[in-house]
């Protein structure tokens, strides 16, 4: 297990190196002098010179990269020009909000996707199977922002049950916090449910046609025991990894969902940064999301090995 972990961590080094080069290059995609872009409307030569010195823009590209990547490795993601605060602190302040949404969404996704996938496989080609397929197609094809708008129209405008926007921290008022996040979490959970349902159905169909399930049936076990104890336990192994990877995909989904529901998370941070031309924050969020995504991939791989004893050797 330790050897596997060591190998997997070593593989991350070149990946993270290329990620850092790619994000560094992003800044240099900008036409013209990056100092002018960072400075915004400020045109004072002294300020521009200070920015060039601060961001090492007066040095050759390899040295600029080294200075930037050394800062990133020390947790320094730069400073937000608009908010006059360190990008790391901004991300750390917004991350719990996005994390709350992601956890709620994965719970919603699991509680819809898993049972739907199992029922679809057990009752293959029945009305249940077709209904589950329609659910999956809906989840894959519905733009998150449209679904969010429809939910706001129904539950906020028409029924007046839930707030259309805004965010309340769980520490302030748990019920109001749930009310402010349930719609965006459902929008994200809808996408996750579709993916989980497809994977669960496919894994369950494989498991149900395997020899050990046939043997369990031949031994006279009840269908319930065969499905729950034998087929499902094995079928869920790949689903765990999908779940972990879905959590990473939420980082993309939160961008629009947080925007629609005015939730002050990492997704809204990057959109606001884009419109404020706050490129240090854009870069910082991309670095942070890439790091989280790579870490989740690693956790997914480790979970896969942990729950599958055959892979441990």
């Amino acid at each position: 297990m330790l050897t596997f972990l060591g190998k997997r961590l070593l593989q991350l080094v070149p990946t993270l190196f290329f990620v850092s080069v790619m994000i560094f290059v992003l800044q240099h995609l900008l036409p013209g002098d990056p100092a002018l872009t960072i400075a915004g409307e400020e045109r004072d030569p002294a300020v521009l010179a200070q920015i060039r010195a601060q961001y090492h823009l007066d040095q050759p590209l390899p040295q600029q990269y080294l200075a930037w990547v050394t800062g990133v490795l020390h947790g320094d993601l730069g400073e937000s020009i608009r908010m006059k605060e360190s990008v790391r602190n901004l991300i750390l302040a917004k991350l719990p909000v996005t994390l709350q949404l992601a956890v709620m969404a994965i719970i919603i996704g699991l509680s819809i996707g898993l049972p739907a996938g199992v029922v679809a496989a057990v009752r293959k080609d029945s009305a249940w199977d077709y209904a589950a397929s329609v659910l999956a197609l809906w989840g894959r094809s519905t733009p998150a922002f449209w679904f969010g708008i429809l939910l706001i129209f129904l539950f906020s405008v028409k029924l007046d049950w839930l707030p259309a926007s805004g965010y309340v921290r769980p520490s302030e008022d748990l019920l109001r916090s749930l009310a402010s996040t349930i719609m965006p979490a459902f929008v994200l959970g809808n996408v996750a449910a579709a993916a989980l349902m497809r994977h669960t159905r496919s894994a369950m169909l494989d498991a149900l046609s395997s020899d050990y399930v046939r043997t369990a049936r031949a031994k006279g076990l009840s269908e319930r025991a065969v499905i729950l104890k034998h087929a499902m336990r094995n079928a869920l192994t790949p689903v765990i990894t999908v779940g972990a990877l879905e959590l990473g995909e939420f980082l993309s989904g939160t961008v629009l969902t947080e925007q629609i529901f005015s939730i002050p998370g990492v997704g809204k941070l990057i959109v606001d940064a884009v419109f404020n031309r706050d490129y240090a924050t854009v870069q910082g969020v991309v670095v942070a999301t890439a790091t989280i995504y790579v870490t989740l991939n690693l956790i997914a791989d480790l979970l896969y090995v942990l729950v599958n004893p055959r892979l441990r050797s």
Binding site: P143, F145, F153, V274, V282
Partner: protein, 294 residues
Amino acid sequence: MAELAFDATLAQDDAGESASRRALRRLLRRKGAVVGLIVIALFVAAALLAPLIAPYDPAAQGWTAVRKPPSWLHWFGTDDVGRDTLSRVIFGARASLLAGVISVSIAVGIGGPLGMCAGYLGGFVDALISRLTDAMLACPYLILAIALAAFLGPSLGNAMIAIGIAATPVFVRLTRSLVMAVKVEDYVEAARAVGNPRWRIALVHILPNILPGLAVQASLSIAAAIIAEASLSFLGLGQQPPDPSWGSMLNSAQRFLSNAPWLAVFPGLAIFLTVMSFNLLGDGLRDALDPRER
């Protein structure tokens, strides 16, 4: 993606039916795929014939017809400056379909050759391209597209480039795996044994056999690209006003949800139907080309 690998022995079957004809026959047997094809054809026709079939000029404002609900005069109602929503949905199909096709063409155009080099040449080239692909895949798709669009500047063209670049690693990885599966086939070994140069083996013997797998992924990627374009336009990073796009129409519809909900229904429905159709077509193509389905 191994399931997408095209069985080269499909080239000709016992009855002498060509592989492409058989795949088409199998595709047309799938109701979902046929529905998808019909809806896509309708949207393509609407996009091409937009100036002829749109009842009004999509940019024409009418201050006497502001936020009118659907009626015989305006089937999908009018927006906050009196523009006809149906005409804007019809013209909006142009931006969405164009973005879907062009960004996926960019992704295939860059990802295909890179994946081909990685899979066919192997060694250092493969290691380098694979690590670059891993790095791009480490950034969530939409966040990478938003970051690229932000740095390139807001416009439909730049959004298409950003989505195309963000979608490229999927095609590198898929092409690489398809090439690796095909290059060990007997007919490729035979082509090598008779002295064919590498480029000829790659283009004449390998490429035709990986195209079906790429076509399946392209169809599914067009669906994802249409959602990505709508997302970027929704955020103001894609098609710029007053040119119509489904994403930007939804953005402005958000402000009038309580008194003009139809503004949010029709553009969203158009995105949903187009994306669903490309997903149905992709699923149908995958099943039709899967050797296990024979």
